[in-house]
């Protein structure tokens, strides 16, 4: 194609069009006004005006989680860019493909502490796969295509392109087809699966007596769920997933052990503890999974499938490693495994654990109390699990992981590696844009987390998104309170969230329906009402305040240290010994004594 001539800003949009971008989440400011001027005239792109750049970043992540496409977000120079940092880091930790575009001060004043100057490429160097400061407009079109290529290839992740305001305005003459043919000789992402390694894996599999498949987010990224299922069904091997693997293997399958790790099921953790072969597929041996590494799956040989060579032997030495796309690898492996392998003894052992130590929950039938786990189970039942779920971070997140019972990949969207409170609502909004108006997205949130990106409510209202927000309100930073209860003698330091806005009024203020539910009898009606209502709904479930997530393997410990259920024999001391609920009234003016006098 012939060369075309345009501004840098327009060239940037043209690159987005060519990369198939349909939606971007952003917030304007001085350094990106020229870009927003082009967006104003743009007819192929939906721009969602977020209310905080962090929200925009998480929306791009949620969109990407739900669709597998690259999420795109925009911020202006300085504070706009720094507000994106948390979301970029979150995407890095969870391997989410994302392109962040930031404005920068004029090239000639870079390095002079100009107004709203921040060295965002310096700041994000450790939390991006790569980033660019584009000082020459002639580089901009090519860099944009490189950015998308790097974000989505190999192990996915975020990249950032920083563009000075004058570069947006400068004129570039370029061949748009030519710049799309990128070749980065120093970037290797298409690792070919090694046939010999696949054969060795098959040999280990044939010898295994007590095998377990350990499936992570990489299997989802590869779209390998059918292959994972085929492998499990052909061999009869049980399957446990990480937090990010949830849904890759349907939890109603008899071979499913649910999630493993710190808050995984007892039987999944026992299975890993006792297995003689651990087959890790796109999972990275995170410390929330392994606990004490030297004691993790001590008697097991390990087969490790990962697309990132850096993950192999990083935490746990693999006996056989298969670098490359795990979909390709599983395809090669499947014909080599035997369907007649007899592991019935092992399966019986697993079933016994399953019966002895099931996941427990309180449905309130006995004592009328309302428990977060129960609300989650009811949401799952009433929606027929035919929804996307996002979560925030804390106890509610773990309960959602344990009790929802995921059925399909990309159904469960959560912040795992960084554990970012405030992720849930914007991620739900982004996911909703991704899956469209016919599928509800449920945001399971906590009263603490929800307040961290609460401003994005208005976006859900404006676009009438079917986002159903269930705040599991325990009036505590529950997860931290749990640690303080269990390991810090109930020193409830700074976890009390009793003083909170009235979430129902907040919903109304933001123009959506707000519902409160404070007893078991109303749970179903509340959920049904939310399902029947078009557009966003916010539910404030007033759940039991002080309950803990079990099972739990305390940080850095072993399966032997697992606390399977709430210890019952111990007489719980009243929670007043160290913890005095504060006087939370606002001081009356007369009451305020000037202590200085």
């Amino acid at each position: 194609m012939a060369k075309i001539k345009s501004t840098g800003a327009k060239a940037l949009l043209e690159s987005l069009r060519r990369e198939g971008v349909e939606i971007i989440f952003g917030y304007p400011g001085g350094a990106v006004i020229p870009l927003y001027d082009e967006i104003y005239h743009c007819d192929f792109l939906q721009h969602v005006l977020v209310r905080h750049e962090q929200g925009g970043g998480h929306m791009a992540e949620g969109y990407s989680h739900a669709t597998g496409k690259v999420g795109v977000c925009i911020g202006t120079s300085g504070p706009g860019a720094t507000n994106l940092v948390t979301a970029i880091c979150d995407a890095m930790m969870d391997s989410i493909p994302m392109v962040a575009i930031t404005g920068q001060v004029r090239t000639e004043v870079i390095g002079k502490d100009a107004f709203q100057e921040a060295d965002i490429t310096g700041i994000t160097m450790p939390i991006t796969k790569h980033n660019w400061l584009v000082k020459d407009v002639n580089d901009l079109p090519r860099v944009m295509h490189e950015a998308f290529h790097i974000a989505r290839s190999g192990r996915p992740g975020p990249v950032l392109v920083d563009v000075p305001v004058d570069v947006f305005r400068a004129i570039v003459e370029y061949d748009p087809d030519e710049v799309q043919n990128i070749e980065i000789s120093s970037f290797k992402s298409d690792f070919k699966v090694h046939k010999v390694q696949v054969k060795r894996a098959a040999e280990l599999i044939a010898q295994a007596k007590k095998p377990v498949l350990y499936v992570g987010g990489g299997a989802k990224a590869a779209g390998a769920e059918h292959l994972v299922q085929a492998l499990a069904h052909k061999t009869g091997f049980p399957v446990t997933t990480t937090l990010h693997g949830l849904g890759t293997f349907p939890e109603n399958d008899p071979l499913s052990l649910g999630m493993l790790g710190m808050h995984g099921t007892a039987y999944a953790n026992l299975a890993v503890e006792h297995c003689d072969l651990l087959i890790a597929i796109g999972a990275r041996f995170d410390d929330r999974v392994t606990g004490k590494v030297s004691a993790f799956a001590q008697n097991a040989k390990v087969i490790h499938f990962d697309i990132d060579p850096g993950e192999i032997n990083k935490v746990r030495r693999a006996d056989v490693s298969i670098v490359g796309n795990c979909a390709e690898a599983l395809e090669a492996l499947l014909p080599l495994v035997d369907e007649t392998q007899d592991i019935s003894e092992w399966r019986a052992e697993l079933d016994a654990w399953r019966v002895d130590m099931p996941l427990e929950f309180n449905d309130g039938a006995q004592d009328g109390t309302l428990h977060a786990e129960w609300v989650i189970r009811e949401i799952a039942r009433l929606t027929d699990r035919n929804v996307v779920v996002t979560t925030d971070v804390g106890q509610h997140q773990m309960w959602a992981a344990q009790h929802f019972g995921m059925r399909s990949p990309r159904q469960f969207i959560t912040s795992g590696g960084l554990g970012t409170m405030g992720f849930g609502l914007p991620a739900a909004i982004g996911a909703s844009f991704g899956v469209g108006p016919d599928k509800d997205v449920w945001c399971i949130s906590g009263d603490g987390s929800f307040q961290m990106c609460i401003q994005e409510l208005i976006v859900a209202t404006i676009y009438k998104l079917p986002v159903k927000i269930a705040i599991l309100n325990n009036t505590f930073l529950g997860m931290v309170r749990q640690w303080q209860e269990m390991f810090w003698q109930k020193h409830y330091s700074s976890v009390d969230m009793e003083r909170a806005p009235d979430f129902v009024l907040v919903a109304e203020a933001y123009g959506m329906l707000g519902l409160r539910c404070d007893n078991v009898a109303d749970v179903e009606a509340t959920i049904r009402k939310a399902m029947e209502t078009d557009g966003p709904v916010l539910m404030d479930f007033r759940v039991v305040k002080e309950t803990n997530v079990y099972p739990m393997i305390p940080s850095g410990q072993t399966v032997g240290d697992m606390i399977v259920r709430k210890p019952q024999q111990i007489e719980e001391p009243e929670s007043t010994c160290h913890y005095q609920p504060r006087d939370t009234r606002m001081p009356v003016v007369d009451e305020v004594v000037d202590v200085a006098r």
Binding site: T121, G122, M125, P126, K129, H130, L133, I150, I184, S185, S186, F187, K188, D308, P309, G310, I312, N313, K314, R317
Partner: protein
């Protein structure tokens, strides 16, 4: 996987794009992953678009494996070579300013001779000596100079190359 053996050192050569910020990316990677750099040199190469880094790192074989893999993930990095089981040449250069009272000069010059060094500057009470060689040689030259009084010293850090006709 921890070993009780005192940390070994390894030399690695990294070919990178000759672009601003590359050094920060490489050194940032070492810092945040807790790898210890003993020395790092950057130089031009026969290709103007490429720079060559020689990094001496402390750590066991597992650490070296991780360093190599993580370096490969940086987009600016073209090649990483770790010289494991490869005969190699290593060189450093030192400039050493030593106190040289006239009556002790001969003694110093003799040592310079032994180490095949060069006197590159001389003043009334000091001279600057240049020595090249492996790290051990330079260490021991320094030790020999200590009794005379070392006034200032600068070392380049290690550079390395494979022996034979192969190239990185």
């Amino acid at each position: 996987m921890a070993t009780a053996i005192a940390a070994q050192t390894h030399t690695i050569t990294v070919l990178v794009d000759n672009r601003p910020g590359v050094l920060a990316r490489v050194s940032g990677l070492f810092a945040r992953r807790g790898y210890n750099i003993e020395s790092l040199t950057v130089s031009i190469t026969d290709n103007p678009n490429m720079s060559r880094m020689t990094i001496v790192v402390a750590g066991d074989a597992d650490t070296l494996e991780q360093i190599t893999k993580q370096l490969h993930k940086l987009i600016d990095v073209h090649k990483v070579f770790d010289y494991l089981d490869t005969p190699m040449l290593e060189r450093e250069l030192v400039l050493l300013k030593v106190q040289s009272e006239p009556e002790r000069r001969a003694e110093i010059l003799q040592l310079v001779e032994i180490f095949r060094g060069k006197v590159v500057d001389i003043a009334d009470r000091a001279m600057v000596i240049e020595v090249t060689g492996g790290g051990d040689k330079i260490d021991s030259f320094e030790k020999q100079m200590e009794p005379f009084g070392i006034r200032e010293l600068v070392r380049t850090g290690r550079i390395a190359m494979m022996r034979g006709s192969r190239t990185v």
